[in-house]
C-alpha cells in the first residue's frame, strides 16, 4: 500500500501540501531540539553538548527499524523507495569537507534554514554562502567531475556490503547507540 504517492495517482496539490506539512514537522523537531543554536550544534565537536549526536543517531536507529519493518511486512514496497547510490570516494571526500563547512559555518543546511527563520543573521549568510558554493560546484563541474563520479558502487546497503541480514546490523546499531549514550551521559555530567 505504500509509498502512497508513488502507487496511487493522487492530485499534485495534495502532494505539495503533504510535502510542506512534512517539512513543518521537520522544522519543528529541529527547532524544539535546539538546533537553531550554533552553540548546541558545534557542541558535538567540543564535547560539551551531545544533542546533535543523540537526536541524529536515535533518528537513524528508529528510522531504520521502522523502514525495514514496514519493508519486510510489505507495507512499503522496497523496490519503489529511494535509496541513495554509493560513490564511496566522492562521499568520503564529501563527508570530510562537510565537517569543515559545518564547523566554519556553525550549521548544516537544514538547521541553517530554521535558524534563519528565527532571526539569525549568521544563518542567512551561511545560506548565501551555500548558494555561492552550489554555483561554484556547477560552474567548475568539469574540474572535479573525476572525484564526483569516483567509487561508484550502485544502490548498495551495509547488509549487502557485509553480507549480513539487515536486522543483525540494526541490532548492532542499537547496541552501539546504547553504549554511546551511556558514555556520553557520564561525560556530560563531569
Amino acid at each position: 500500500m505504500g509509498p502512497v504517492f508513488k502507487i496511487f495517482a493522487l492530485p499534485h496539490w495534495l502532494y505539495i501540501t503533504s510535502a510542506i506539512v512534512t517539512g513543518v514537522f521537520f522544522g519543528a523537531i529541529l527547532t524544539v531540539s535546539g538546533f537553531i543554536s550554533t552553540r548546541k550544534l558545534t557542541g558535538v565537536f567540543y564535547f560539551d553538548d551531545f544533542a546533535v549526536l543523540k537526536v541524529l543517531f536515535t533518528g537513524i536507529v528508529v528510522g531504520s527499524i521502522g523502514i525495514y519493518l514496514l519493508g519486510d511486512l510489505g507495507t512499503i514496497n522496497f523496490q519503489k523507495i529511494y535509496i541513495s547510490k554509493t560513490f564511496w570516494v566522492s562521499q568520503l571526500v564529501g563527508g570530510l569537507l562537510f565537517g569543515i563547512g559545518f564547523m566554519l559555518s556553525g550549521y548544516c543546511p537544514g538547521t541553517s534554514i530554521v535558524s534563519a527563520a528565527v532571526g539569525s543573521i549568521d544563518a542567512l549568510v551561511v545560506i548565501v554562502g551555500m548558494l555561492a558554493g552550489m554555483l561554484l560546484f556547477g560552474l567548475g563541474y568539469n574540474l572535479w567531475k573525476g572525484i564526483y563520479l569516483a567509487g561508484e558502487s550502485g544502490r548498495i546497503t551495509l547488509s549487502q556490503v557485509l553480507g549480513i541480514n539487515h536486522w543483525v546490523i540494526i541490532g548492532l546499531l542499537v547496541v552501539i547507540a546504547v553504549f554511546m549514550y551511556i558514555h556520553v551521559e557520564m561525560f556530560e555530567k563531569k
Partner: protein, 171 residues
C-alpha cells in the same frame, strides 16, 4: 522532558525525527533532505538567465529532464515547510530574535566572513556526498546505504579536528 533552555529532550527529539522519517518513506517513498533545495534554487535562476545553456549543462541538466521547473520538487516544498515550522516553533518557544550567533571571543565581522566561507565549503561537500545531514546521515543512515555511513565517518573525523582550529569562533 524539556531542559532549562526549553529545548526538548534529545532522545525524544530523535524518536520523533525517526518516526517522521518512516512516515515520509511511507507517503513519498523517499526520505528527508535539505541541501538539494539550494542547488535547485541556483539552477532555477540560471535557467531564467540562460535556458538553453543550462539544459545542456553536464551537471545541472538533470534538473530539467522532467520539463518542469527545478523548483517543482519534493525537497523544495519540504524546505518551505521547514522554514514555516521553524519560525512558528521558535515563536511559540520565545526564541525568535534578530542576532548574530557567535562565541564570546569572536567579532561579528569574523563570524559572518567564516559563515560565508563555511557555507561555500558545505555546499561543495553536499554535492560530493549527494546530500547533507538530513539526506545522507539521517535518511541514508537509516536505509543503511553504504555511502551514507562513509559520509558520516568523514564528517565525524574532520569535524573535531577543525573544531580545534576554530575554537575562537565558538567558545
Amino acid at each position: 522532558m524539556f531542559d532549562k533552555e526549553n529545548f526538548l529532550n534529545p532522545y525524544i527529539g530523535g524518536i520523533l525525527l525517526g518516526l517522521l522519517l518512516v512516515l515520509t518513506f511511507f507517503l513519498f517513498g523517499r526520505g528527508l533532505g535539505a541541501s538539494g533545495t539550494f542547488d535547485r534554487l541556483v539552477a532555477f535562476f540560471l535557467g531564467i538567465l540562460a535556458p538553453s545553456w543550462i539544459k545542456a549543462h553536464p551537471y545541472w541538466q538533470k534538473y530539467f529532464h522532467s520539463g518542469h521547473t527545478p523548483l517543482n520538487n519534493f525537497l523544495v516544498f519540504l524546505a518551505i515547510g521547514v522554514a514555516i515550522g521553524g519560525f512558528f516553533t521558535g515563536k511559540i518557544m520565545g526564541k525568535t530574535q534578530v542576532q548574530v550567533q557567535k562565541g564570546p571571543r569572536a567579532t561579528s565581522r569574523e563570524r559572518l566572513i567564516w559563515a560565508f566561507i563555511g557555507g561555500i565549503i558545505m555546499a561543495l561537500a553536499t554535492r560530493f556526498a549527494r546530500g547533507c545531514t538530513s539526506g545522507q546521515a539521517l535518511t541514508g543512515g537509516a536505509t543503511l546505504a553504504a555511502g551514507s555511513w562513509l559520509f558520516m565517518m568523514g564528517f565525524f573525523i574532520s569535524g573535531p579536528l577543525v573544531a580545534l582550529l576554530v575554537r575562537k569562533l565558538w567558545r
